[in-house]
């Protein structure tokens, strides 16, 4: 046998080399550093690490040491992880509820209108997320347009405090991730054969039944992809809780940032990062299982819908 002949359209392995180098050097290597740091000791002044093995950082996740030296169970960090989960879950649910009607509506427009509407969905990407998040400080604060509007209508006597509340964090997160939910659902809905909906009507299904039993199962891969694209980044969100939540509603990313900054505990920050990484992987696996099940049904996987 001679050397394997390349088929037409097949790429060469060498073409992938630059990308692979980038991935190994700039994605994999920092991860390795994080894992290694998490097993080292805190440096004297807190900046950097001392090269001495220690599992102290992991112990700190669950236990706190009193000044007397005794160890007791401390749920602070579990609470923060739970909070992060809750915020990510609420964000996913709200974006799903908002994105589904929008995506299906766009997918049912005439083809020439769809491009323009999808273009509108992507407009927020034109400016930096930081600036857009700052804009929400203006919108949500006590003297902002929402309170001014409610006041002018006489609905409220004193401004409703919205900024620096969990509500503001959720608003910011939903705003940030909405396009990531709309796009994959739209991709699924756009491929939906609306003749199936006609057939369902013809067989006696009302509007709601057709939506629930025929349209939704067909866009399920897009929904799963959207949940993935929203839930995982939302879990590790930093900006919205920092700027809009006002530190009251810390999520795990804010705690990690603090460890590398003010708290000066790099190994602990690294351990928290490893924990976040493991949680993210577990969520990914869960989604993969879910997606496989739905792929068996629709013949199309969520991973495909994400592209």
């Amino acid at each position: 046998m001679g050397r394997a002949r390349a088929r037409a359209g097949q790429g060469s392995a060498w073409a992938a080399a630059p990308g692979l180098l980038y991935l190994i050097g700039l994605v994999l290597a920092p991860l390795v550093i994080i894992v290694v740091y998490s097993f080292l000791s805190r440096a004297k002044l807190g900046v950097g690490v001392k090269w001495e093995f220690s599992a102290q950082a992991y112990a700190d996740l669950l236990f706190s040491e009193s000044l007397a030296g005794g160890r007791s169970f401390d749920p602070t960090y579990l609470q923060i992880i739970f909070n992060s989960f809750l915020f990510a879950l609420i964000t996913s649910a709200v974006t799903l509820a908002l994105a589904l009607p929008i995506a299906v509506w766009i997918a049912t427009r005439p083809p020439k209108d769809r491009t323009g509407l999808i273009f509108l969905v992507t407009i927020p990407f034109w400016t930096s997320l930081l600036i857009r998040t700052y804009a929400f400080i203006i919108i949500l604060n006590d003297n902002g347009p929402i309170n001014a509007f409610l006041g002018a209508l006489g609905l409220v006597e004193s401004p409703i405090p919205m900024l620096y509340t969990p509500f503001a964090t959720v608003v910011g997160l939903v705003y940030t991730f909405l396009p990531f939910m709309i796009l994959p659902i739209y991709a699924s809905a756009e491929r939906f054969d609306f003749r199936l909906a006609e057939a369902a009507y013809d067989l006696g299904g009302g509007k709601w039944t057709v939506l629930r039993r025929i349209v939704l199962p067909s866009v399920r891969p897009g929904v799963i992809a959207g949940m993935l694209l929203v839930f995982i980044p939302a879990l590790g969100s930093y900006l919205a809780p920092e700027l809009l939540g006002g530190g009251k509603t810390s999520m795990i990313a804010n705690v990690i940032a603090a460890q590398f900054g003010a708290s000066r505990n790099w190994p602990f920050g690294a351990a928290l990062s490893v924990l976040l990484l493991i949680i993210t992987l577990l969520v990914l696996v869960a989604f993969a299982v879910l997606s496989k099940r739905s792929a068996r049904v629709t013949g199309r996987s969520s991973w495909e819908s994400m592209l």
Binding site: D193, R195, L196, E198, A199, A200, Y201, D202, L203, G204, G205, G206, T209, R213, I214, P217, S218, V297, T298, G299
Partner: protein
């Protein structure tokens, strides 16, 4: 046909579509039709003639601009699609990919509010009717095209509709399968004695299945009747040409006959459908290739250009003056015409049909 025996009455239905270019297409132009209870009615016509639009108007998937549609005497124009007692077999089958075959069939029955125990036997029965017993657990993607077709049929039949609508149901099947399904559909219609309304562009399919055929021409019904009647007595040039093979030649009514193209004068006994046309009227006549008598004579008017052997028949293309006509002769003839021969043509009584333009 009296109204008591009408399953479906279409009364002066019109429907226009605007094209993306800003034009207007008259898909249905004042169409009226009676569909008899328990009949197999075929709407036949070339693509874009409005037959599918009419089917969609009956189903309720499209709203007519004007006119009335009644089901067993009841107006249904304002009844939403999901409440009409008609069901459709779609050209694309439109099977729900995420449901099994049995679930596909059960869907419509669930919409009728039937219980699980009522649905199960009906699904079994429907599967048996289309000879797919035992395949209820499969998904549509695991079935062949012909099997999917049967599922679509079973799904609509299970609802026992007052009228079953079939939109080009066989067009995606290959020829052999299509022939089989044609007799299968006939059998199902007989056994269920439901009213079938089928849309097709295939005139052979229409002839093979229909009790009544309605020929569509550009948004209007050109002719309605039994297939044989429509074949033998086409009313318009379009119908003559579209159904079966026909020689269509320009003609003029004379005092004692009709002058047909370059063939010359033909006696009135040979012409049918000409009542009331005064001399001087110009129009067309149509005659069937198999309905021409020929005789070989050295100075016959018809000059044979080509002879093609197609099994039982010979297709003869002959030139008469400026006209080219097709003649069909039996292959069993002892001395069939050959290319270059001259033929003398004559026509049996009533075999040349005067047709409207």
């Amino acid at each position: 046909m009296s109204h008591e025996t009408s399953a479906l009455t279409i009364n002066r239905v019109s429907k226009q579509f605007s094209t993306p270019e800003g034009g207007v297409v008259r898909a249905l132009d004042n169409v009226s039709l009676e569909v008899a209870e328990g009949s197999f009615t075929v709407l036949l016509g070339p693509s874009g003639c409005g037959k599918t639009t009419l089917l969609r108007c009956i189903a309720g998937l499209e709203a007519a601009d004007s006119g009335e549609i009644s089901l067993r005497g009841q107006r249904i124009d304002d009844v939403p699609v999901w409440k009409r007692r008609v069901n459709t077999v779609f050209q694309s089958y439109a099977l729900f990919p995420h449901l099994t075959v049995a679930q596909n069939i059960a869907f419509g029955l669930q919409m009728d509010g039937l219980s699980k125990t009522q649905i199960a036997p009906r699904v079994e029965e429907a599967l048996a009717m289309v000879r797919l017993d035992g395949l209820g657990g499969r998904r549509p993607s695991q079935l062949s095209g012909g099997q999917q077709q049967r599922v679509a049929l079973a799904r609509a039949l299970a609802k026992e509709p007052e009228v079953l609508l079939l939109d080009e149901p066989l067009s995606a099947l290959d020829l052999k399968l299509r022939r089989g399904m044609q007799s299968e559909l006939k059998r199902l219609q007989r056994e269920t004695s439901l009213t079938f309304v089928l849309v097709t562009h295939d005139q052979e399919e229409a002839m093979a299945m229909a009790d009544t055929v309605a020929v569509f021409d550009a948004g209007r019904i050109a002719q309605v009747g039994e297939p044989r009647d429509v074949y033998l007595r086409p009313r318009t040039r379009f119908v003559a040409d579209f159904i079966g093979e026909a020689n269509v030649l320009p003609a003029e009514v004379m005092d004692a006959g009709v002058r047909v193209g370059s063939i010359g004068d033909v006696g009135l006994d040979v012409i049918s459908g000409i009542d009331g046309q005064p001399p001087g009227t110009r129009g067309h006549v149509a005659f069937r290739p198999e309905n021409i008598n020929w005789e070989r004579t050295p100075n016959g008017d018809a000059h044979v250009l080509d002879v093609t052997f197609v099994g039982g028949d010979l297709h003869i293309v002959a030139e008469v003056g400026e006209d080219t006509i097709t003649i069909r002769a039996s292959s069993h003839h002892e001395e069939p015409p050959r290319t270059g021969d001259h033929l003398d043509l004559s026509f049996p009584a009533g075999s040349v049909r005067w047709v409207e333009d």
